[in-house]
Subunit: 333 residues, 2 copies
Amino acid sequence: MESVKKLINGVESVVPDALRGLAAAHPGLRVDVENQIVFRASGPRPGKVGLVSGGGSGHEPLHAGFVGYGMLDAACPGEVFTSPVPDQMIEATSAVNGGAGVLHIVKNYTGDVLNFQMAAELSAEEGVEVASVLVDDDVAVRDSLYTAGRRGTGATVFVEKIAGAAAENGAPLAEVARVAGEVNARSRSFGVALSACTTPAAGKPTFALSEAEVELGIGIHGEPGRTRSTMRPAGELVRLAMDAIHEDLPVTGDTLVMLNGMGGTPLIELYVAFADVAAYLAEKGATVARSLVGNYVTSLEMQGFSVTVCRLTDELTRLWDAPVETPALRWGR
Amino acid sequence: MESVKKLINGVESVVPDALRGLAAAHPGLRVDVENQIVFRASGPRPGKVGLVSGGGSGHEPLHAGFVGYGMLDAACPGEVFTSPVPDQMIEATSAVNGGAGVLHIVKNYTGDVLNFQMAAELSAEEGVEVASVLVDDDVAVRDSLYTAGRRGTGATVFVEKIAGAAAENGAPLAEVARVAGEVNARSRSFGVALSACTTPAAGKPTFALSEAEVELGIGIHGEPGRTRSTMRPAGELVRLAMDAIHEDLPVTGDTLVMLNGMGGTPLIELYVAFADVAAYLAEKGATVARSLVGNYVTSLEMQGFSVTVCRLTDELTRLWDAPVETPALRWGR
């Protein structure tokens, strides 16, 4: 334990230990610790499209914290910062299928994409209709250490919530997939790191950042962004992030905004940054119609923030507002 | 900005900037940025007891994140780790009074206690009936840097939620105060720090902790606990915390448990520790009837955890389950 000052019982047992804690805290979940799959305790609902997501651990509450009514049916956590394997996804897909097919929500990282593709093919061979949506909202870099194309980050929360509401309403698979794709297409993210994070297995920070530096466009595994910059006031960092988003897809109209901590940022500082985000949007004539401020897609104890903006439509707003009951998002029930 | 790597726009403007962000994110709140008071936007409900709390900033979401239906009517944030002043409390008390009186929920820190006492006296002179409940659940130390007697920590969340539900149900002031006192009497907490935190004004950590050390019984401002210890596995740290609680008030029956991050602890690690808490309770024959796992009473970016256990009654469970709609706790509506 000397080399890693973390609240864990051993490097190898982090994920199963955390899954046991998740099960103890949330009776609405059924947790298969051995196979590392988190389900709704209520099981599949006949005729409802099932939603499965997954990805490396270390980003909590993503994804297991979004399993429940109105959102995911199952989540497959991998080891820390490591893709889950096809077996997890296949088992989850089969278990949540209520006869109306299953949507895979996949963040665009090479391992996740390949494994979900294999799982989708094998599930289809077993007779489950599967559709997939790829989340690739991060405008920071075109390709990166873990990804061909854009990385998937904060928009995943929006996709899981909104597609989950559509599925709960009884929409067919093609329609749930369409709305999921639309949310992704209308969403953009950008992240800024003030510090690195340390995976239990590595025992040392994923990258080095001096006291005077920040990483602009940071990835959720600490992979490099666009550039290093000197530390600046929150308002300037927010402007850099929002400019990157706005240049890619102009912010306009009613927006859904997430100001996401990365696990180690004080909440008071996230609210400081959110004030700057709201001011930026007002300056561009856009409106904060709905928002989340807090830790939703984390990178262990990394400090910094990411901001995700989705251009809402009436349909997306209605689906966002629909009831949800998960460990990390809960309203209307 | 060189000396403090924080997501802020200036040391002096942290609290008002965060309050502007809070207002932008939560339309259900009315935020008086100048006077530093956060109200429900809906105003006082005639005949309902008003609930006011407050304390130093840097512990978010406490207290402003608990303003809303079923919980607080107003919160008065002070500067970081500094008590709010009587003027804030008097104005909040007057504004939330719906004619049925106002309950002050006060964490046991000398500044908070003195200022709330003064505010209660002056409000009474203005004709508002005021009752107070003192929260002092932290078993770690008898007196400390900021406190005569036990410190108030995690139980504050339980008191605010349960007293808030009683008030929402129309209970009279004496009854709301009684239930608040009962929650405090049945709750105990203990905290462990793996790292210190840095206030914006100080610009350096509040205390020094080596890579091999933890502070057992840490206070929410980083004030000393019982003792330093070498770093240990989560299960051992949890056992030390739970033993301290159990020796003071044996854990038994149905419990409400909060496993609280301190702002900088990865959520995956909090779930690891929660599994150990649940195992400890099971070993003692107690049950996790309700729980919270996450950041509820933080100390900026401090790493570590605190655990709070409340021995439930049927009445307290019913009030805990009642609908709530605040930025940080929301269910049933």
